[in-house]
Structure formats: structure tokens, C-alpha cells
């Protein structure tokens, strides 16, 4: 795995894929490789990087749309948006705290991982904002799907397939997102001392209110000294002043709420977004569990089989981050047994390569969906060139 190809144009990218296809050479597909530790260790013989496909190709603030070549640093996109008071709505997680990566993630990597953060509960995931892609498929063909307008139902939505496919279906060359204005101000209500079940109830009360909660997380003891439950609202100043008081009154049954604002609040939400609470100790494995919020606390209760673990909740309880002993299967069996019948699923985000090679990193699929998934892979990448085995063995 020494050869690294860094095409500088989409045409070169397509040529590189065609060459690899002719040579039967499986490729590790990446941007800057900040998330290369996620997934099963791919069986690739060379690396194809989009890092030199860089630059913003389209930005129309009044149309709420931005497009960029896949290798564009996320930081460059966020800086351009910030200059116009706008943002990527889905608040993409930065995995560097967890994975101890250096360099910066690319926008293509954000799309390939469907990386979303706390605001996912209000404005959708990365896949909801991603409206257009260009990519090279496993035949070396350049394919476009979606476009630069936010209402578009023309043909099959392959954009959604590319989001979260971890580079296994095609190599993205360009991505287009719909965006939103940054709110004028924000406030975070903090409740203290709630157990997990009670905290998720409080978050549900906030999310089920008309007051537009855009962040809903719970940090149990072990993350914070005292359990802390967070609800964020964003908007114009008079609206925030009003909603803050209404929410405080609504949440009274759960205790008196403190308010956090400004940089302190922003920093706390950054840590929630990046699961930074679980970054240390570095020798622990980290799991990401997606589940209906009301089922989350009892799922966590069923984890007693794990001798030692820490967890916190985002998405109103619907996203549970868990740190476990990085030994054996890193808790895979215990977590998945506890998830059985809930409709939830688990992804192993951080673990030594030998564990990721042996355990199911992504949730195993039921047979009918496994068949469809194999078919989708074949339809886009017939020779299994791209990140083979990264998500599932044989795919």
C-alpha cells in the first residue's frame, strides 16, 4: 500500500480509476485520510486521494447553495460560509479529537461519512443537505446526480447513496450542499442531576414543544461531575429571550434550568458534536449507537455485561456514544444483544485494527438487505475496486 495517486482534475481521476480497473488493483479511496481509522481495514493495494481536487466551485449566498471539489478542506468551506453569516446546517462532527488525526477533513469526506452533529434533530443530516454530487464510478465513468437546486426529484436519488457510503461506491469529485444562515444568537438551557431516563424525558418535552430546540444532549455522571442535560435554541435575539423563558417554564418539572450563552455554550456543543468527552483515555474503543430516543435509556441499562463503560447522549437520546474496553470484541456482542429488537444499530468508530478486522464495525444487515447492498455495490463498482471490505466483508 505504498502507491498514492493524487489526480488534479476530474478527468485524471476517471483515468486513475480506469487504470486501476485494468490492473485489477483495489483502491483505498480517501481525502486527507482523517477518518481512515473508521471501518474495517480495507484490502487495498494503492491509495486514490481527492486531496488535489480542491476549491469552491459555486457559492450563491442568496440561493443558499455552495459547491466544492471533493478535496476542498472543510475549514475552507466553513470560513467562506462564515464570512457571509451562513453555515452547513448539519453541524458535521470533527472526528479528530476521537481519532487523534492530524490535518483537516475534506468536504468529500464529510459527505462520504454522512457526518452530522447535534443540529441533525432540527435541520437534518448531511444527507439531507447534500443536493448534488459528481463522482467516478467503478467503470471509470464520470456520473452526476442531483444538482445545485434544492427542490429536485429528477431521476433516482443517487446522492443519498453516495452519502454515508464511505467511499465504497464511487470517488466523489464534487459535492453541492444547501446551507442556512447562522442564527443571530443562541442559548442553552442546562438541567442538573437527572438520571438517563428522566433526562431523555426532559429532552423529549423540549423537542416536542413549539420552541424549536436545535440541540438536545445529556451528559451523565462520568462525563460531567453532575449529570447535565442540555437544550439549545437559536434565532433572533427577541425570539431567544422569549423561548428561553417558555422552555424554562416547560422544563420546571425537571428542575431549575441554568442558561449558558456565548463562547462557553459554543464550546460545549462542539464537544458534544465531536464526542470529545470520550476522546480520553485513548486506549478505549468508541461506539456510536443510533436508536429511537425513548428506547435509549433502557438499552443502556441492558449493557451491564460490559464491565466498564462510559456513555453520553445526543439527538434527544437518539444517538448514544459509548466508550468500552478495547479488548476482545470491544463490547460488540454485548451492545448488539442489548440492541436486539429495538430497531437501533451500532457502529464501531474507534478500535485497534485487529478488532475492527474481526468485529462487525457496521451493523450486520438482514439477508434481504444484504442482497440489495451487494447489488448496489455491483451496480456502481462491479470489480470491487473502492475500499473493498471497509463497510462489510465482500462489499
Amino acid at each position: 500500500m505504498t502507491a498514492v495517486s493524487e489526480p488534479t482534475t476530474e478527468a485524471e481521476l476517471a483515468a486513475a480509476v480506469s487504470e486501476a480497473r485494468a490492473a485489477g488493483m483495489p483502491l483505498a479511496v480517501e481525502g486527507r485520510g482523517t477518518k481512515s481509522g473508521i471501518g474495517r481495514p480495507a484490502q487495498a493495494e494503492a491509495t486514490l486521494s481527492t486531496v488535489k481536487l480542491s476549491g469552491i466551485t459555486l457559492y450563491e449566498p442568496s440561493e443558499l447553495v455552495i459547491g466544492a471539489k471533493a478535496g476542498t478542506p472543510l475549514a475552507e468551506i466553513e470560513a467562506a460560509l462564515a464570512e457571509k453569516g451562513q453555515m452547513l446546517p448539519f453541524e458535521p462532527i470533527d472526528y479528530r479529537p476521537i481519532l487523534a488525526g492530524s490535518g483537516g477533513p475534506t468536504i468529500g469526506g464529510v459527505a462520504a461519512g454522512n457526518l452530522s452533529g447535534p443540529r441533525r434533530i432540527a435541520t437534518g443530516a448531511c444527507r439531507d443537505s447534500l443536493i448534488g454530487v459528481r463522482f467516478v464510478n467503478g467503470r471509470g465513468e464520470i456520473v452526476k446526480n442531483g444538482g445545485r437546486v434544492m427542490k429536485n426529484v429528477t431521476g433516482l436519488d443517487l446522492v443519498k447513496l453516495m452519502a454515508g457510503s464511505w467511499g465504497t461506491l464511487g470517488v466523489m469529485s464534487e459535492v453541492i450542499f444547501k446551507i442556512l444562515p447562522v442564527a443571530e444568537t443562541n442559548a442553552t438551557l442546562l438541567l442538573h442531576g437527572l438520571d438517563d431516563a428522566r433526562a431523555v424525558e426532559a429532552l423529549a418535552a423540549g423537542l416536542g414543544s413549539p420552541f424549536e430546540v436545535t440541540g438536545a444532549a445529556h451528559l451523565p455522571a462520568g462525563i460531567d461531575r453532575v449529570p447535565t442535560t442540555l437544550l439549545r435554541i437559536e434565532g433572533f435575539a427577541p425570539s431567544i429571550a422569549y423561548r428561553k423563558e417558555r422552555l424554562r417554564a416547560l422544563l420546571k418539572p425537571f428542575g431549575a434550568a441554568d442558561v449558558l450563552e456565548g463562547e462557553a455554550a459554543a464550546d460545549l456543543w462542539r464537544r458534544v458534536r465531536d464526542a470529545a468527552f470520550l476522546a480520553e483515555p485513548r486506549d478505549k474503543a468508541v461506539w456510536r449507537v443510533s436508536i429511537a430516543p425513548s428506547k435509549a435509556p433502557s438499552f443502556v441499562e441492558r449493557l451491564q455485561a460490559l464491565r466498564d463503560f462510559r456513555r453520553f447522549y445526543d439527538w434527544g437520546g437518539g444517538l448514544v456514544w459509548i466508550a468500552t474496553e478495547a479488548a476482545g470484541d470491544a463490547g460488540s456482542a454485548a451492545i448488539r444483544t442489548a440492541l436486539a429488537g429495538t430497531g437501533g444499530h451500532a457502529t464501531l468508530i474507534r478500535a485497534p485494527a485487529e478488532i475492527r478486522a474481526a468485529a462487525d464495525v457496521f451493523e450486520p444487515l438482514p439477508p434481504a438487505l444484504r442482497t440489495v447492498t451487494e447489488g448496489i455495490k455491483t451496480s456502481l463498482d462491479p470489480d470491487r475496486l473502492f475500499n473493498p471490505g471497509r463497510m462489510y466483508a465482500g462489499i
Binding site: G147, V149, K160, A204, G208, P210, P238, Y242, F362, L380
Partner: protein, 477 residues
């Protein structure tokens, strides 16, 4: 009229009786429609210029029945055209002579409401509005609100990835559905997604939504429900030019304001809708924006204050706020019945292209030129925030020449949408209507890739086979 249908399979037509007899064994009495006069109700949808009599119509009541029907049709090589309420404006539910129509309208129950997780599980034949009505008393609603929401089903909404007037803030169907139960072409029942915010593996749900019934028959859906805002207030802004209206829209968004809806009407549309709904639309302006904001009274006052300030800078001529729930209802009735109201004054075809909003004044001018060039008239209503246009090309259905010209004008308008960086369809779907224009928007390798993905689900082209992809070049792998 110019849209071709495939030549019916003589072998299937010859076996019609055996096929209907086989289907009759799979559904309870009343679940199979064979009489010609009863089948006629299913020969078209809301794209009424085209119609074909289906082989038979089957109306199952359960997922198991759907699975049995699909197994049977798959075994016998019979094509299946899925149908919700038949409100497609793109001909998405129009059958063909050698196909069975599978309608899901009998499957219309609410299965589960979960206010804590803000989700709801429904059968796919439930109407869009019935979903919201089921949770309205608790203050919740299902967000996408197509104009046909009284009649259209969630099955059809999923098929077409339907939008509505409020998707600027709340998104379209794909952003509001969490899971589906789907029967594949060979009768296998699969669960895709569920009640969590994301699902493992590839985003198959995102692929299924908007796939126009080509990947399977959706029989159940889990949707997100939202708590309604404390209040909502639409305001009418009249402008002397569409350029001013368009610039105001851009400036509102530029000021960091995302209203829940921003709807545009031109003068012909204003006149038609006002005559129908008596909504108090100003008749002395060239362009009207309906801008709706949400929140408490004070919040709405604040946001509207900012919007009015911006509108004034862009030369707004009239500003009229809704003063009561009745006025609000009338304002929306006028907009949502735009198509119906237009139907009272002329026949029309409704286009659905999307454009980058910055190109709005130019596109409106060119639409006017295109339609005038064919000697016809046009009324424009559209979702201004997202650039989704609905030009209504008016014509006389009894005049074949006019009908042909209307179709040509419509096609020219869609080519224009693609030319300026937009797309053929924003929320109605491709169906048969825009099928032959797909080559305008996509290169061959783009369509080939889509068809290869389609082929994963339906290798033999049995499911809604005459839709979306041009007939002359069909591949499966």
C-alpha cells in the same frame, strides 16, 4: 400528442383471463377490479391528456396480499403499475394495457403514534392530510404539504418525493420519512430504515424515496411528526415587477431570515386565484409574494417587521397582513387551489421545473416569450424560496393543435430550466411527462448508472416500466 407508450405484450393480453383469475384468489372480494367501466377510473391520473386501460386493478388490504400479488405477477411476467390516489401531474400512475394496477388506497390506517420520539407509523395508502389530522389535537403535524394533500397518499408522496409550500423550512418527503416496509418485485417484504434517525448500511431509504414506484411497493411508512409553531401568519406583498419581487426574496434570505414559506404569483395567476378564493389578493400589481412566518405573536411581529423593511427597500407597493385565522385560510386557499382555479378558466398543463433563484427575472421573461411564441398564455405560481416553478400553460383541450403547442411550450420551458442550471422536476416527478426530456438534463452515463441501480431491484423492468427513463435505451446491468 407526443408521448409514446410501449407496445403491449400480446402474450400477456391473451392470458388476461387466467391472470385475473389468479389475482382473484389472492385478494378478498372487492379487491379486484376487472369490469371495463370500473377499470376506466384507473386509466389515467391527474395528467389526464394520456390514458391507457389497464389489464386489471388490484386493491389489496394487507402487506401479505401485496406480497402474494407481486409473487404472482413476477412468476407470470406481468407488469405492475403502483398507484396511490392517482393525483400525479406527471403521469406517474398511468397504466399500460398489459399491466396490472396495484392500488394501495385500502391500506389507510394509522398504526402507531409516538409523541415522545415524534414519529408515526402509517399504512401507505393513508392520505397526506389524514396523517396531520391524526395528531393535530396534540399540536403536531406532518410537514410536507403538497397542494393535493387532501387526496394524495403517503405512498405517492414517497414515490415522487413530494414537496409543498412549506419545504423551505421543513424539507420534502425524503427529509421527513424514517422508514418504510416495502414489497420487492418478487414478493419479498423488506424493512428499510425504522424509527431511528439513521439506518445502517447504504441509504436505501433515500434511494427508495423519489424512485417513482420502480423499486418496490411501499406498504407502510414511519414518518417524523413535528410540533406545530404557536402561530403562523402569511403576509401579502405586491410588487410592480417580478424583478423587484425576486430581489426582495434574495434580500430576505441574505438577511438570515428563512420564512416558512415564500410563494410567488404573477398577474394572471393572481387574477385567477382571487376570482376563485376571494383571498384579498391585490389586483393592481404584477407580482405577489405570500410570505409566511411562524412563532408567538411577538416573534412574528419582529420577523415580519424585518421582512417589511426589506420589501420596502425593494419597492413593495402593497403589504397586507392576515388579521384572522379566516383570512389566513383564504390566503392559503387561493394559493393551494391555484391549479384547480386555473382549471375553471382554461385547460392547462402544469410544469414543475426548478431554477437557481438568481435567474428568476430572466427565466420569467423567457417563459413568457416561449409561450407567446406558441400563441398561448401562461400563469406562473411557484415556490420562490427554492426556485421551484409551476408555470401553467393555458390551452383548449378540444383544439388538438393547441394541445400539441402547449406540450411543446412546456418542453421548451423545462429545457430552459436545465439550461440555467436547474432541473426538469422539483416535486412532481418525471413519470411519463418528462421521461423523454431526461436526456436534456443527463448524459448517457448518468442515466445508465441510474438504470443499473434500478436493475438491482427490477431486472426484468416489470415495475412501473414505462416511466422515468427514455424507452429507447434500457439497460439493467
Amino acid at each position: 400528442m407526443g408521448i409514446a407508450f410501449p407496445t403491449p405484450d400480446e402474450g400477456i393480453l391473451a392470458r388476461r383471463e387466467a391472470i385475473t383469475a389468479g389475482l382473484a384468489r389472492l385478494v378478498p372480494p372487492g379487491g379486484l377490479v376487472t369490469a371495463e367501466d370500473e377499470r376506466r377510473a384507473f386509466e389515467t391520473d391527474a395528467f389526464t391528456a394520456y390514458r391507457r386501460m389497464p389489464l386489471a386493478v388490484v386493491l389489496p388490504s394487507t402487506t401479505e396480499e401485496v406480497a402474494a400479488i407481486m409473487r404472482f405477477c413476477h412468476e407470470h411476467g406481468v407488469k405492475v403499475v403502483p398507484r396511490g390516489a392517482g393525483t400525479s401531474l406527471a403521469g406517474g400512475a398511468i397504466p399500460q394495457e398489459d399491466a396490472v394496477v396495484l392500488g394501495v388506497s385500502k391500506m389507510n390506517r394509522v398504526l402507531d403514534v409516538n409523541f415522545k420520539d415524534r414519529t408515526m407509523r402509517v399504512e401507505a395508502g393513508i392520505t397526506n392530510l389524514a396523517i396531520s389530522n391524526a395528531v393535530m389535537a396534540e399540536g403536531f403535524f406532518y410537514a410536507p404539504d403538497p397542494s393535493s394533500q387532501l387526496a394524495c397518499t403517503i405512498a405517492g408522496n414517497i414515490g415522487m418525493n413530494s414537496g409543498g409550500a412549506h419545504c423551505l423550512k421543513y424539507g420534502v418527503t425524503t427529509n421527513n420519512v424514517l422508514g418504510v416496509k416495502m414489497v420487492t418485485v418478487d414478493g419479498t417484504v423488506v424493512e428499510i430504515g425504522g424509527d431511528a434517525l439513521d439506518a445502517p448500511g447504504y441509504d436505501l431509504l433515500g434511494l427508495v424515496v423519489g424512485s417513482e414506484g420502480q423499486l418496490g411497493i411501499v406498504t407502510e411508512a414511519t414518518v417524523r411528526i413535528l410540533r406545530a409553531a404557536e402561530g403562523a401568519r402569511p403576509v401579502l406583498f405586491g410588487f410592480e415587477t417580478s424583478e423587484q419581487a425576486g430581489a426582495a426574496v434574495a434580500a430576505i434570505i441574505g438577511a438570515g431570515i428563512i420564512p416558512v414559506a415564500m410563494e410567488f404569483m404573477d398577474k394572471p395567476a393572481i387574477e385567477i386565484c382571487e376570482a376563485f378564493a376571494h383571498a384579498g389578493y391585490p389586483l393592481d400589481v404584477e407580482a405577489l409574494l405570500i410570505i409566511e412566518v411562524e412563532g408567538s405573536d411577538a416573534e412574528m411581529d419582529f420577523t415580519l417587521g424585518r421582512i417589511v423593511e426589506i420589501a420596502k427597500k425593494h419597492g413593495v407597493k402593497t403589504v397586507k397582513e392576515s388579521k384572522s385565522a379566516m383570512e389566513t385560510a383564504a390566503i392559503w386557499k387561493g394559493r393551494k387551489s391555484a391549479f384547480g382555479a386555473t382549471g375553471r378558466v382554461a385547460d392547462y398543463i402544469c410544469m414543475d421545473g426548478t431554477i437557481p433563484t438568481g435567474r428568476l427575472p430572466e427565466v420569467l421573461r423567457r417563459i413568457d416569450e416561449i409561450v407567446k411564441g406558441y400563441g398561448l398564455r401562461v400563469a406562473n405560481v411557484f415556490h420562490a424560496g427554492d426556485g421551484n416553478l409551476h408555470p401553467l400553460v393555458l390551452y383548449d383541450v378540444n383544439d388538438p393543435d393547441q394541445a400539441h403547442k402547449a406540450e411543446e411550450a412546456g418542453n421548451d420551458i423545462l429545457r430552459l430550466c436545465v439550461e440555467v442550471g436547474g432541473c426538469l422536476t422539483g416535486e412532481h416527478g418525471v413519470g411519463i411527462e418528462k421521461r423523454d426530456l431526461m436526456n436534456v438534463q443527463f448524459d448517457p452515463q448518468d442515466l445508465d448508472q441510474q438504470m443499473r441501480v434500478r436493475g438491482v431491484f427490477d431486472r426484468a423492468w416489470l415495475l412501473n416500466p414505462a416511466k422515468v427513463f427514455p424507452l429507447d435505451r434500457r439497460i439493467t446491468a
